[in-house]
Point group: C2
Chain length 182, copies 2
């Protein structure tokens, strides 16, 4: 059972590492995609290896898309058409998409947040509201298959909802049969 984390240099270290470890603990294979294959470096200096470049990502093979924050990484990713296509593919298939901190900016640029309830880092609130997102100041907001949180201290609530969404998907026969190469 594979899940995808999509990030770039300048990620918020704890927002990538803690969800990655939590998903592995729950038995998922965690793939990491970045603009290019290879090591990406967080704000605090942790590195992880992106085993996939954007071109290699086949959304059908994954049960979840998770977007860590960090001011720089989402800024790099949000305007890349392949990133927007990947996000849309997950949303269209009804697969869970989870974004934290500045991560929701990527969802915004992919056009999947308008008219939906979501939260984000405080510095991003104005941008979300201006685009017609129904912003809520909560540790986690779940609207359908879109899960959003504000900051690292929300990780417990964020990952609780991520794990629950994956469990729901596992119970749904349709979800299970749809997933390629599982």
């Amino acid at each position: 059972m594979r899940v995808l984390i999509l990030s770039a240099d300048g990620f918020e270290d704890s927002e990538l590492l803690c969800p990655m470890y939590r998903l592995k603990e729950a038995g998922y294979q965690v793939d990491i995609a970045a603009p290019e294959w290879g090591r990406i470096k967080g704000k605090r200096g942790y590195t992880v290896t992106a085993n996939l470049a954007l071109d290699d990502v086949q959304p059908d093979g994954f049960r979840l898309l998770l977007l860590p924050g960090g001011k720089v990484a989402p800024q790099t990713l949000r305007s890349i058409p392949q990133v927007q296509d990947i996000v849309s593919a997950f949303v269209d298939k009804g697969r869970p998409v989870a974004a934290i901190c500045h991560g929701p900016q990527i969802l915004l640029s992919a056009g999947v947040l308008v008219g939906r309830r979501a939260t984000c880092y405080r510095g991003v609130v104005r941008e979300l509201e201006a685009a017609g997102v129904l912003y809520e100041d909560s540790e986690v907001v779940v609207d359908g298959n879109i899960i959003t949180s504000r900051q690292p201290s929300d990780i417990p609530a964020f990952m609780g909802e991520v794990i629950r969404a994956l469990a729901r998907l596992l119970k749904s026969t349709r979800g299970y049969e749809d997933i390629a190469g599982d």
Copy 2:
């Protein structure tokens, strides 16, 4: 339900943050103790607030003791008598004690590892073996209520065993009745 993380300046950031968030996700109140009350800083610059000084720690109130690594933090803690007393109190009561990376050095100095199976950071192996610990090169080693791991990449296996140990304690009436102020 309270659990205790014991650390100091120079902790390995991911080994404190990821377990802390995971325990909170599972519904536990996480207290952090350090030599003095107040903020402690990790190797990578993350800070957390120690809400307890060593003098304030009453081991009876906690279901678990978790010792993150980082070369500096365990080095600071291991020779402090109050730290050794806290570790012994958890072990004597049969409460789970979990240590990762350099964290097992604290268990060693408290005298609770001799003759037991354990793992640790590779730079610490020799010291453990010299003291009569049955070292194993595994992502996690569980010997009774003592859970040890080697490094950050072991966090998924480490926290899986920590959560299982807490669940076992919750099922045990004896364990439950023994815990003060829960």
